[in-house]
Symmetry: C2
Subunit: 448 residues, 2 copies
């Protein structure tokens, strides 16, 4: 917007029940405030309702892409959106968009949302929170303020986790043009069913009557649980994501010599496990020395022959390194691998590092971050700017529009597990921040 213009529309009164709205929704009209609290209460209920789709007998939720429970959840959401006055439709991939039509068709839309799929026996918050909160926020805004200037969209993205097919971010990636039927449709699930065929069985696919998954967006905002325990440990109510970390993953292959554990003197061994042990210890040591927010993890290791009485002839382990700054990530990874190679050398073990994943860091949009910070301040919510160590749909959509993310605390950082939990109060905080920022986009005039 031109410098000097207000972030807020001149005439908000038209959308309210008669009383003029206060700036920033810090003190909305009494009725709006009451309605906001009602919507806040509806959020945990809606998450509970959503968790019934794909409910596991043991208490978790399993909604795999293009499964019956997934389809039922998306269809139920579509009906819910229509009941709330949104124009709801699917795209070819099964992404669901609920539109609150704006009055100025020349302005590109702003979307909020997250994903509806889960991991196997996952929790009820990961993904679902961002979907439910976005849908409720649009319903709330329309009830209080009527139609926005620019179209607002609640997105229930079809797939993020990659739990059924080896394709992560299928929904958001399709919208961003980073995934396609041509490139990804052939990927098969554990039963050998291709993604494309599974989509067709649900009525989706490139030959269906649905639109191709393209949205022209002004911005995308995602509310998500932290999936970590930084907010919990630091006693904060919200995280404003600065970047989704870059992530390098290597498979480290060590080839030594399998020898008898009793008859082979120590100095003549080529012990792949001993070499691995030094590298694993170094990984943690170096990451601690580098300091936050760098994280480096060896989570998986396989030794061969893997017998207690045989010196390991070969060991394969993974190293996962993440940092929100690609330059730091690159330097750290290079140095670590160099020191690994040197250690392998001194242990007489052959060394190879195979790159298995290389995802650049995805910074969130600065203006959106600042807006989210401002909203938190105004709402009296203790927040911090922090990187997201996990991947999210926002990192795909950031390829086509400015994006922002809001984190709310995850109890004990537990995620992808039935034990996933976020306090109702924390859910409400997240909802208010999301509603506030969508208000600014839809009814104010945030300039990006």
């Amino acid at each position: 917007m031109p410098a000097g213009e207000s972030l807020f529309p001149a005439d908000q009164a038209a959308f309210t029940s008669g009383e003029r709205l206060m700036h920033d929704m810090v003190r909305p009209a009494e009725e709006a405030a009451q309605l906001l609290e009602q919507y806040c209460d509806r959020l945990p209920e809606m998450l509970n309702w959503l968790s019934q789709f794909g409910k596991d007998p043991e208490g978790g939720v399993t909604r795999l892409l293009y499964s019956v429970s997934w389809l039922e959840a998306q269809e139920a959401l579509r009906q819910w959106m229509e009941q709330e006055g949104l124009e709801a439709d699917f795209d070819q991939t099964g992404n669901l968009a609920g539109r609150l039509r704006g009055t100025d068709p020349s302005l590109p839309a702003v979307a909020a949302g997250s994903h509806i799929d889960t991991v196997v026996n996952g929790g009820r918050y990961d993904g679902a929170l961002g979907v439910a909160a976005a849908a409720l926020a649009l319903s709330y805004l329309s009830k209080v303020y009527g139609p926005p200037k620019r179209t607002l969209i609640a997105l229930s993205l079809c797939e993020e986790e990659g739990s059924r097919f080896p394709v992560t971010y299928w929904g958001s990636g399709s919208i961003a043009g980073l995934r396609s039927w041509e490139a990804d449709g052939h990927h098969a699930d554990m039963d050998g069913i291709a993604l494309l065929d599974a989509a067709k069985r649900c009525g989706f696919g490139p030959d269906s009557s649905y639109n191709a998954p393209f949205l022209e967006l002004q911005a995308y905002i995602e509310l998500h649980i932290e999936q970590g325990f930084v907010l919990e440990k630091t006693g904060l109510q919200a995280g404003i994501v600065s970047a989704i970390v870059g992530q390098y993953r290597y498979e480290i292959q060590l080839q030594g010599e399998a020898n008898h554990a009793g008859t082979t003197p120590m100095q003549w061994r080529k012990d792949a496990m001993a070499a691995a042990g030094r590298m694993i210890a170094l990984t943690r040591e170096a990451a601690l020395r580098e300091g936050d927010p760098l994280v480096a993890t060896v989570g998986s290791l396989h030794a061969s022959p893997g017998l207690s009485n045989v010196v390991a002839g070969s060991v394969v382990f993974t190293v996962d390194i993440r940092h929100p700054d690609d330059a730091v990530l690159q330097r750290f990874a290079d140095e670590l691998l160099q020191r690994f190679a040197h250690m392998a050398d001194t242990e007489g073990v052959r060394f190879a590092a195979v790159e298995r994943l290389r995802a650049a860091a995805v910074p969130m949009h600065d203006r959106i971050m600042r807006e989210l910070e401002r909203i938190c301040r105004k709402r009296g919510l203790a927040s911090r700017v922090m990187p997201s160590g996990a991947g999210h749909d926002a990192q795909m959509l950031s390829a086509i529009c400015p994006t922002g993310m809001i984190f709310v605390p995850s109890r004990h950082g537990i995620s992808h597990n039935p034990g996933e939990y976020t306090e109702p109060e924390a859910l409400k905080n997240g909802f208010k921040i999301l509603a506030d920022v969508l208000y600014q986009f839809g009814y104010g005039s945030v300039d990006l």
Copy 2:
């Protein structure tokens, strides 16, 4: 024998083809020497013949206890022994003893031998060498010297490896009274067949007509491949075993906290893998510092959940520690576990060390070692006294009589593998040492 008496019988001439034997067999009668070379040549042939029983299509040998190939091998050996003039019979467990009857029934017998069973896809030397060499040696001695004073026995022990049933040293342990049908007969193989039932199917077992596995022995001598590469690397022809090492095996259990590899800052992790890495590195470091002959090995490790993007919540790994001196072994193990516990503490990980194996070191008999050294010197064979890092039947039989072991080089130290190989020349060296020491027991008068 009373002090001052000669090691050698006064009248050896009776056993020779007329010429008086030289002391120590250093220069036996010309015919005896020719015959010895002939028997030396028969040894590789006999090993080749034995390797046909249970020959694997891929080149190795698989003779599991009480299998058809195992039974055929033992029965063929029994017939071979009888053809060579030995009194051959089985005991209840399937141990085969070929006796060269001594002239003085008041003297306890001396046995030599090893085991006839193999690991799955094992080699043709482990065990078989000691069996074949003992049988050939008795045949040779009887041909050259006639009946000995004391009975000499070639033992083809039924089982050492524990490859089919979870019972190691079943054959020698039964003789030594350390294994029994009562205690071990119920152990089942992978198909659920009990050891006792498998024995019965072969005609063995406590109700069979065979004798109980008890032998009153004056001594037991075992010729075996080294199963390591110390002799090869040091260019020596024979090893004289000082002790079978004591062996402690622990399962180390580390319980940390499984967390998201992206969202969990380094300083808040309880990373079981990082703790394990430090312990594995320490194990090698401490063993190197302690020095030969101590060896310590981490050969097996399992991490849970074992995913590249999850901090390992728990890790279980094994530590195998061996040393010929129990006091050193105990001190080293205690110190290592103490330092492990401390490391676990600093990593915030719970620690448990479960003892899985605790075998005391078994020293070989000093007088037999000295006799073997003397024989090597006289034969001009470069030898060294060394511990055996691997277990052998001798460690069971040492519970009932003085024992000695002779090692010959294993190419590249390879064992329990079709690649197991020992040069014919090395086999012959071992055979001569064994024949010499059996001569001393049978026809001389080695005092133990």
